[in-house]
Symmetry: C2
Subunit: 214 residues, 2 copies
DNA sequence: AATTCTGTTGATCAATTGATCTTTTAATCC
DNA sequence: GGATTAAAAGATCAATTGATCAACAGAATT
């Protein structure tokens, strides 16, 4: 029932037994499972249940993380790290490409990253808990993504109403809310989020009378 | 320090001592404080800390609620009940008033209700916990508010792109996201949310080429 | 094959937590 | 003013929880 009698216990790609992993690998495995676990049940999830999911003793966790908070910190980092690739500021500012295309390119890629249950929920849990990483992330997002979007919009806006930072937050929020509905509230998702993203962007650009070719 | 020696301990409007309240009043007081408490620390907040805030013994809570879950259920109800006044469907459908005015009226009133820390956070906590009240609320919102908005928009839209339910969710999400930023992520809020709401609505209507007077 | 090394287990601790129950005491009734 | 009622306190239970530590066992080394 448990596992075929494989004399060598430490292989079997994603099997169950494999005891005695090298530390780096075990640590990574713990963090991977912890991300899914805490994303599902919240940061108050119990170490014993996490250990059960890992097929491992609860005490083993404390060989790799001094405290539960340390483990959660590792979960944060695993989830937050690399979520915003560093070349987006310049790609968003590349005026050889129409702004609409830049925005669609960004939000298509970005939404593929964040419309993901683990990210979305851990981001929300950590936000509610007031985690500093959350604040830093949002500040970074504002500085590095939304502010350039505002600058580009402002450069192209033709109407008499100038775009503001709040306009960009509104665009952003409307898009992110798709993921919130799906993963936080577990409501049915739109079939083609890309289409909704494109529409949101069109709405945004049209408001400032920015033509498609600019 | 604690309280002037008021021989009758049970008055003093919002003072500290007043022991021995009538049950209905005590129950209400517990729920009121519990709403603020759980909104702040999450639904895993401990009964002992809640009791301390009430200036009451922990065991007293269980004289009014059989279990902690019962208390949380009471918190849900207190927070959810009456959040959507029942006359909005017709007010949103009153074509004697320009759609823009109807939308602004609704979202001004609605945002005043939901841009509130307790509501926003408990809604999010309960959403993450998968509470059924949360699902019911969102379904209700969709049926009773967003669907009429869609119908009204569709009746007035002049362009060749027809509005969809996702467009309405996008409008809604963009507005709600203001509150999420403020109360979940604790970011600085826009000074005049009403202005941002009006702008979001303008964006929405303009996309479907709906004039201000319609 | 024996030895060493270390990843992992199992037992256990102390603090915490939801919940129960007896006792106390403030308010009401006669 | 003393008796009665029930709201609240206080003590306590059993289960849970994060964390510790000695003992075990799988793999590498010699």
């Amino acid at each position: 029932m448990d596992q075929p009698a494989d004399s060598n216990a430490s292989d079997s790609e994603d099997g169950a037994i494999r005891r005695r992993l090298p530390p780096a690998e075990r640590r990574q495995q713990i963090v991977d499972v912890a991300v899914r676990f805490f994303a599902e049940v919240g940061l108050d999830g119990k170490t014993r249940e996490l250990a059960k999911r890992l097929g491992v003793t609860q005490s083993l966790l404390f060989n790799y993380f001094a405290t539960k908070d340390d483990l959660i910190e590792a979960v944060y980092e695993k989830v937050y790290i690399g979520r915003l690739s560093p070349d987006w500021p310049e790609r968003l500012s590349d005026r050889d490409v129409p702004l609409r295309d830049r925005l669609i390119a960004f939000y298509s890629e970005y939404s593929a990253l964040i419309f993901e249950r683990e990210w979305m929920r851990i981001f929300m849990f950590s936000g509610l808990a007031g985690a500093s990483l959350n604040h830093r992330y949002l500040k970074h997002l504002g500085d590095v993504i939304l502010r350039p979007i505002l600058a580009e919009t402002d450069a192209l806006a033709r109407g008499d109403t100038r775009p503001t930072m709040e306009d960009v937050w509104n665009l952003h929020g409307g898009i992110v809310y798709i993921g919130i509905r799906q993963h936080i509230y577990r409501m049915p998702a739109p079939e083609h989020p890309e289409d909704e993203i494109a529409r949101a962007i069109a709405k945004y650009l049209q408001f400032f009378e920015i033509e498609l070719e600019n």
